[in-house]
Assembly symmetry: C2
Homo-oligomer: 215 residues x 2
């Protein structure tokens, strides 16, 4: 049995759901509510599964996998169709680089635990917290728009005409931006790609609002 530990609003879990859906793989959802009961990610049983107390975790038989990008690359190696990465090393580097621009430069800064640290430990105001969120999204999306808008390798999706690793990272990040009412007017290429993704059932079914724990 394949089981994904996640939370509807976690964008890393959203990535894993898109990847599983694109590969056409069945999975059971185990909901780890990140804000209820002091945070279910801190429960001893969950820490045994993932000492990082982060979602997602993918269990596949005996196997326990953490870190969404490692999970997605694993799925792509074990279930090659449809591929998440192009064929040539150069193109693969392009797609990984686009994905990492989201996964390493935006998302880690706007994680729940980081926002909590700002409020609890650094005593920032709600406005400062929202501005922090906005700042890192805009700082990250601006060069991503530049790169995608000016490269002929960009197609209907981040790379060519089929969705892949970069789209899997982009869509949840844009969903976060929208949830925080951040205007995406400056990012027409990103918005166009997101719309192309969200026209597809694997993306729709993975969306936060489509999850059983959605609030």
């Amino acid at each position: 049995m394949r089981k994904l530990y996640g939370y509807f609003r976690s964008s890393a879990a959203f990535r894993a759901r898109i990847a599983l859906n694109l590969k056409g793989l069945d999975y059971e959802l185990a909901i780890i509510h990140l804000t209820k009961h002091g945070g279910e990610q801190f429960a001893p049983e969950y820490i045994t599964l993932n000492p990082q107390s982060l979602v997602p975790v993918l269990q596949d038989g005996e196997l326990t996998l953490t870190q969404s990008l490692a999970i997605i690359e694993y799925l792509d190696e074990v279930y090659p169709e449809p591929p998440f990465l192009p064929q040539s090393a150069i193109e693969r580097a392009r797609v990984r680089s686009l994905a990492l621009m989201v996964a390493c430069e935006i998302h880690p800064l706007n994680n729940l635990r980081v926002l909590r640290y700002l409020v609890r430990d650094l005593k920032v105001t709600e406005e400062q917290k929202d501005e922090w969120y906005r700042h890192w999204i805009l700082t990250g999306l601006t060069p991503l728009e530049t790169r995608l808008a000016n490269d002929s390798a960009t197609g209907k999706f981040c790379h060519g005409e089929t969705p892949g690793l970069a789209d899997i990272c982009l869509v949840p990040q844009l969903a976060n931006a929208q949830r925080f009412n951040i205007s995406l007017d400056a990012f027409p290429t990103l918005v166009r790609i997101e719309q192309n993704c969200m026209a597809l059932k694997p993306f729709q079914d993975a969306a936060p609002g489509a999850q059983p724990d959605a609030e």
Copy 2:
């Protein structure tokens, strides 16, 4: 000609240097001083190269690559020996997951631009900034130690008896911790692996102190 744009103190550039050295590849260094002249990463010519204004960038003939992990995976695909990732998908997922625990959960939070935002925009004190740095290093290294110490797949290095992707990420992160005088006493496995890495010339030659721009 292969050219690496970097800065001696950038731990993402340090990763790329280790990877190039382990593969035995020659490269020229182009120094992008991140704090001098208002930050050379913001110069128009550099932004053309990398709109993210981050280091490293690898130029390999016509090819321009950004994002250290994408660069390292590219080098591993094009120059397979010695491999940075094990053979099986399961083991590869393990190594990628360990690497991402550093690259996605620690390093992005302690980047120069983030520390600057804390000081300039959120007006935190020097003590608060240092505590932030310490907090995210300890939060990240603690589960990494747990995972590595309790897994028989850990060997002389993060995975088995040869250095790979996870070691390439770990060593620069521990160098950062030491630069900020953070005690590593609670991380005997990480320290042991770091010592095994730093006994090797490719790691030694990549170290910040061995770079021409070292201060």
